[in-house]
Symmetry: D2
Subunit: 320 residues, 4 copies
């Protein structure tokens, strides 16, 4: 193996740059050449790529976002699109590909390997942390710290004002961000798409709290479990409590990556190169029990991590 390529794909997540840096520097350490592909599979198809050296990744370990940019490519889902990408594989002499992204991106890489036999290694980068095969994906730790920081700030004013606050966070299908940030922030109610909730139940908890002297309350809701504005309206109609709503939106994808995400990304990026050199052909790297391990790529997108009910119950117990 002499030349590999690297791309970031899907939604960006903080720490992707640290992963790119690790891939590039570890590859050069092993005597490989590295091609950086811009805008994910779109750039792969359009030959938007250029050779990277040690200094291409200088001064990026602490930057949010991804210097390679990212995009979602509809064209790569078609055989024609993948055919164009393979033409670039041949043209540039690419012998292995590292894909940093989520399960959708892994699926694309998996098909590409099946069709064209190019070794592909997935590095899990998504703030949702919903990928099977790793305890943590790159960006999740930074994202929940961003949410927890928002809860801290809201709590300051909540305590001063005796009100009910609703915080809508990311997670269309996964409530993992809401759950873990809610636990860490001490939110009184956590609403996630995986678990049904009734608005009556939420209202009862609020009333119960006020009766016990709780002067303010914070409800965290994953976008997939409903709209924060709607829930606020319903609470107001049902029990007359005024609520204030914050929608964090995409700022959850940004920010300087935490130490945890940088270390995770550095270790995973380096491991991806290692196993590529060792001859792995269709795998992802993941962190299990503080070790970086390889597992078959397709396992990652044949399911989603289920929400941890023990954690959910714990959050409820501790926010009494």
């Amino acid at each position: 193996m002499q030349r590999i390529a690297v791309l970031t794909s899907g939604g960006d997540s903080p720490g992707m740059n640290a992963a790119v840096r690790a891939v590039v520097r570890k590859a050069i350490y092993h005597g490989l050449e590295v091609i950086g592909i811009k805008r994910g599979f779109s750039g792969f198809i359009e030959a938007d790529m250029w050779p990277m050296d040690l200094s291409s990744v200088a001064d990026i370990i602490h930057r949010g976002g991804t210097i390679l940019r990212t995009a979602r490519s509809e064209e790569f889902k078609t055989p024609e699109g993948r055919g164009k990408a393979f033409a670039n594989v041949q043209r540039f002499g690419i012998q292995g590909l590292v894909v940093i992204g989520g399960d959708g991106s892994f699926r694309g890489a998996d098909i590409f390997n099946t069709e064209y036999n190019l070794p592909v290694i997935g590095v899990p980068g998504t703030i949702d942390n919903d990928i099977i095969g790793t305890e943590y994906s790159i960006g999740f730790d930074t994202a929940i710290n961003t949410v927890v920081d928002a809860i801290n700030k809201i709590r300051d004013t909540a305590t001063s004002h005796e009100r009910t606050f609703i915080l809508e966070v990311m997670g269309r299908e996964s409530g993992y961000i809401a759950l873990m940030a809610g636990l860490a922030g001490g939110a009184e109610s956590i609403l996630v798409p995986e678990l049904r909730y009734g608005i009556d139940e939420v209202c009862e908890k609020l009333i119960h709290g006020y009766k016990r002297g709780k002067l303010h309350s914070i409800i965290i809701i994953a976008e997939g479990a409903g709209s924060g504005l709607d829930v606020g309206k319903q609470i107001s109609e049902k029990i007359g409590l005024e609520t204030k709503v914050t929608i964090l939106g995409h700022l959850q994808r940004g920010g300087t990556p935490t130490a945890f995400d940088r270390i995770l990304a550095s270790r995973m990026g380096a491991k991806a190169v290692e196993i590529l050199v060792e001859g792995y052909r269709k795998h992802m790297v993941g962190m299990i029990a503080d070790k970086i391990v390889a597992s078959p790529l397709d396992a990652s997108f044949k399911g989603k991590k289920a929400i941890d009910l023990d954690i959910y119950n714990l959050a409820n117990i501790l926010s009494i």
Copy 2:
């Protein structure tokens, strides 16, 4: 003068605790006794007050919110309400009052002084920074740093993804937070209630930017200038650009106060006690040219600070 009281009123703002600490400790330094009144004018009416000493304000200088809590009191707007408050003035022997809050709170204090002759000093605490008589009010600096931090995070993902983002911030009548945070964050468009804008104009600027190769754009909008979600919908309908919306909401009121707000609050709180001791009767303290000065209380609510058009134009020039 032997005994004074202090309260926080209206919307809370970061740094109010530092102001309370300064009032209490400066007063004790001058040999005065200090009564802390809870929940603003509501607590004043309901005699929700207690004596404070040096340790009552230990370990609060860095805390967001206000340990005295705050509320908006409809009752204090009535002669009956103010009559009850005066009964407490007599009952507790209060000879002067420091009111930390915005212009609405100053108006209430002003009327109270007219009716009952109790010396009152206003300390401007509001994140809106819309009070005449001071260059800065307590909490504004922290609030715009919170907004700028949000812009930073959004920019990370904006740069990676080539999209348009909308950030809705506080300011029902004043666009000052949007303007100053937009300037500091390099937002491409700043929409404020003081200046009319057409959605066509916003769209043209976006299109113009994209033609010039600008791959992403951040629009900051004060709540008083419209809803971020609505503006996003309109942009999408008019020119087909997908937008992502963040609504910061009340988290802008929270957070550890910045050094600037703590210093401002410490100096203002101390000055309020000083001028009370010196015999001022109906004044506010303000920062002008880095000095803390006194001015008549009623000047503060006879108008609002106008938006600075030079700053607005500068923001436009620099975000080209």
Copy 3:
């Protein structure tokens, strides 16, 4: 079991408050009464303890330090001291004890259990992360984020100024903070007590870097590997490079705990109560493979975690 006690001991670490909160609320959830002991084993001996309820731990999850305070007790190392503590166990009807601290504190708890048969559960809280039986101890994640933030700031000025910077961090016997923060921060050299280094080697690396066009360099050193000021002096004498030294000191123990540390502390604190109720008598809780597990208490202090040489080598490769 009807009544348990909880204390924090040894050096404080961010997240200890979240652990105390979890112990108290989980215990109350199980119908137990909880006694809070102040200043570690010193307060245990001196009966400096008081009953805690749900509201005793309100609004502390985000606070650095420990509301129970901490101390190192020489007296508890003596049979007399432990005898006095046992008298308090009987006096207050304590049937189980949760000790939040490091391996030194666990050793004390272990002896106490041997002598007096009181069930004790250790919760690992130390920024050093050197305790066997858990992948992470409470406070480590916050501490390395503090160090990484310092590296970020130093790098700004280093890049502008083309200089060599030395950052001395905590770790008398363990270089784990230096290693992981150095990896996350991209430090050029990492000096730890576990691995010998020659100053000549450090100088050569610096010269080699400058020859390759590297304009600045950051050296991170654990206090146990030498003094930052001394290393700076030696570099200056040997190769004439001016160095600037930062000594972080105890600020590494402070700060709002990260989401990771709060979640870890919440889960560990709750688990400690669970296993106490289940009848465990001399154990510690730890996180292994993202689960909270119990292991015998004495295993924790019969050795120290060794430094991970793979991580060390990776940091060197990636900071080329």
Copy 4:
């Protein structure tokens, strides 16, 4: 005027990039060409300069340090050095120069104008905030926030541990950072080079505090007032109190600039271009009463701002 140049000089400070951005974009807005000079006067002498356009300053407003780098040039202090620089002025057709830096840099610019008549405008950028002619210099606000954040962290562990902490901060001749950060952080003692202090006095204050029940104490010392390590040793010898020392060092120069510093830098950079265009020839810009004004350049280095004794006394009163 058709072409101007800009450089950063002396110690870097956070916000310099925002100032460079404002100079470049405002100049282009006025139809001027802009030359960026690297490494201050050194690059001026060595013709290390290149043309800048709108995109040269994209994505830098939030970055610490300076993309133009900075250096201290001994050669520019000689007539020969300045002669070389003037040769570059002629070669590149430079008709005006903006110098972002401290009073030393202004002095150099002043001499250069006297000798060669090139219009020069100074923009005050230094964390020390010791320049006459402006209430604030760029970087000061960020620096004191960095110090205050350190005090917050130290206070967490101080409160838990009941100890005395010493924090050494920047300021060889000026105690302004120590004073303002000490006020904002609530430090118990503030030692500055402008005011003599006896170690006995410091010790007395400590003992007095402990007698009153104050369990911990934070002493902040400007480097020009002595070494933190020495003061710690003296306290230990005199009254037997163990102290813990933190030396912040150059990390005070780094970090993302605060909103205040970015706004200040944007306004000052733009004003510098404006007055250059208007024909000013040897001036500095400064902020007075929230307006950006011009004043003669030489006034800035004919003295240093004195320390504000009222603020010093206030800090003492409030930290009782």
